[in-house]
Symmetry: C2
Subunit: 145 residues, 2 copies
Amino acid sequence: MESHGPRSECPINFGVELVGDRWTLLIIRDMVLSGKTSYGEFLTSEEGIATNILANRLHSLEAEGLISKRPDPIHGKKFIYNLTEKGLDLVPLIVEIALWSAKHHEIPDERKDFVHLAQTKRDELIAGLQQGIREANERLRQESI
Amino acid sequence: MESHGPRSECPINFGVELVGDRWTLLIIRDMVLSGKTSYGEFLTSEEGIATNILANRLHSLEAEGLISKRPDPIHGKKFIYNLTEKGLDLVPLIVEIALWSAKHHEIPDERKDFVHLAQTKRDELIAGLQQGIREANERLRQESI
C-alpha cells in the first residue's frame, strides 16, 4: 500500500500494491466470509492482527475505495466498514486463494463446505457471496437512516 | 512468510501466509508472464525489487516448494529458478489479480492482449501459460543433463 503512484503500469503490480498484503487479504476475507464490519470484530480473528496494523490497513483500504466507513448508528463512537463494489470485485481472488490452499494443504472441517462449493460451483459461489454482502450493506443502510 | 506453523487452519490464511506479499507475487508474475528464471532477471523488473528482498523471497518460495533452484549449467556460480507444480497452481491467482486491476485501472497497451485473453478465455489462458512453463522447464532440464 503506497500513497504515491504505482511503481509500474503493469496491472498485476497495480493489484498487488493495493491488496498484496496478508493482513489486508485477511480483513477482506473476514468481510466476505464472516460478514464482519467493525474494528472490534476484525480484532477477534484467529490470526491475531495487531491493532496498529488493523488501523493502518483499514485506512488504506478506505483510501483506495475498497471499503467505505461510516458511524455506527447504535454505537456513536464506533464505525461500520463495508466493502464497496470495487472491494466486492475481490471475492474471486479470495476464492482463488482458498482453491489453491485446498489443493496443497489440509482443509479443516468447518471450511470443507466452502471449499467444495468453490471447487464445483465457483461462479455461483462468487455471485452468491457478492449478493449476500450487497444485501447486508443495504439493510445496514436502511437501519441507519 | 513464516517459518513456524500457520497462524490458523483457515485455507485462506494458509494461502496468504505463503504468497500474500507484493514482492512474492511479482516474482511469480515474472516467472509466469516473462519466463524469468534468474536472480539477475528478477532484479531488472520495472518495480525495482531490492536485492535483500529478492534473496529473501526466493529463499522462502523454495522453502515452501513453490519454486525449485539448481545450478545454471552455463554459469556455474549462478542458479536457475523454476516454478514447481505447486507454484504453477498460482497462475489462476495471477490472472485473477490482472482481471481485478483491469476493471479498476487503466491497462497499458502492452498488457491489453493479455487482459483481453483473461477476460474472454480465462481457462485456456491459464492452461496455456502453465503448459508453456512446463515445456520451458523440461527444455532447461534436457540442456543441463
